[in-house]
Subunit: 243 residues, 2 copies
């Protein structure tokens, strides 16, 4: 059996729910995890509220092997992710000694309570410094990432290899037929290959094709067999190109 | 009291979780709802799986005044949103007579089971035809929208006025100070104006400013008073511009 891993992402941010900022961390993480062979099973975007974060953590963290959070880890009043995760896990928030001394060294005479807030972690947090001045926090299966896209990417990238599972194998067929005409072939494919991940994505107003069909599996043979069978059913006249 | 409304969005789509397609419906809807004075409180992205959709519907629909779904309503095997909502609400799926006759008329001799699948609705669904050939489905407080961005936008736009609540009033301050230097002023603002929605959004590598501060309320007076108080604390040297 190919090794799979499941993941979820909790995005914490009023700015996204209120339409002020477009969330780009979700699509970045989705693509990265897929490339690593990890199944992202849920993305949830919630407000900067301790109880909502706690409820979401309680609900999500036992269900998935890895959970990522995005946002809410800065020095201001609306940065309540650490408090929310702590409440969700039933743990305390503590000031981490080595983080505190790093911050005191960095800020010198300009240290203040807001700056020292960035030394607060959930009890039991492991800090990693892979390739970065500031640490990434992990507590249980939860990786706490900053919401600023540049930092989110930098921190994820620095530790991406630790999440690697067996890869997905992907084929795609672009067809000029409408979805409702090929549905019967997709259904037959699913009957013959019940474990296949088969997607059908219509595109409006594209001069090249009408539907992109994707076939995926962790077994290369399985996806190649399904791909050949579906191509055969569709017939060459219906297929614009394949990938 | 200003009238508020809460909303949630359920995005159904393996293509988004697997990083094949970037979800643009969420940010579109977030912006639209904000403009209408509606508080979007949750976005959740889940796979095309009946039980997951059912669980999410059961969890979300009693909690928010309006729930939108995006995706999973076409003619193919992976379009299981109607089945999932039905299971979540404990209702049957029925073939809607007027939809069936519309589809039979539209497709003529080319009607097939996949095409007639598009006549299936959750029992008790209200159909609206505002400005569109195909209907929008509403069952209880759930509006079922297609995932294709052009159609999602068209359908939402055709009925957007029915969601209007009292507007949010928004002011913004752009500052050249780092977030950790102004946190104290943000905290004081929240102490004086506990009902204020106050956001603080650092931007990296922007030559113009370092933090955008947003102040919002459904009361114009309240937000203006908070805005004046915060400007006064920051001092003119720290403020790049305001909106």
């Amino acid at each position: 059996m190919a090794r799979d891993r499941t993941a979820a992402l909790i995005v914490i941010g009023n700015e996204i729910l209120s339409g002020k900022v477009v969330d780009t961390n979700s699509s970045f993480l989705a693509g990265e995890l897929r490339g690593l062979g990890v199944s992202l099973r849920r993305i949830v975007v919630i407000p900067d509220e301790i109880d909502v974060i706690a409820d979401t953590v309680r609900e999500v963290h036992p269900e998935y092997e890895v959970v990522f959070t995005s946002g809410g880890v800065g020095p201001t009043h609306d940065d309540v992710t650490i408090l929310g995760i702590a409440r969700g896990l039933g743990r305390e928030v503590i000031r981490h000694p080595s983080l505190e001394s790093k911050l005191r060294e960095y800020f010198g005479n300009h240290v203040n309570p807001a700056r020292l807030k960035m030394a607060e972690v959930v009890e039991g947090t492991e800090l990693t410094f892979e390739g970065s001045l500031f640490p990434t926090m992990r507590v249980e299966n939860i990786y706490v990432l900053p919401g600023i896209p540049e930092l989110f990417r930098e921190k994820f990238t620095s530790m991406r290899q630790r999440f690697a599972a067996d890869p997905f194998h992907l084929r795609a067929i672009y067809t000029c037929e409408p979805e409702s005409a090929i549905a019967v072939f997709l259904n037959r494919t699913m009957e013959s290959f019940p474990e296949l991940m088969l997607g059908s994505y219509p595109k409006l107003n594209d001069p090249e094709y009408r539907v992109r069909i994707t076939l995926e599996s962790k077994s290369r043979d399985y996806v190649e067999q399904a791909f050949a069978a579906l191509l055969d059913m569709l017939g060459p006249g219906a297929v614009v190109r394949t990938e």
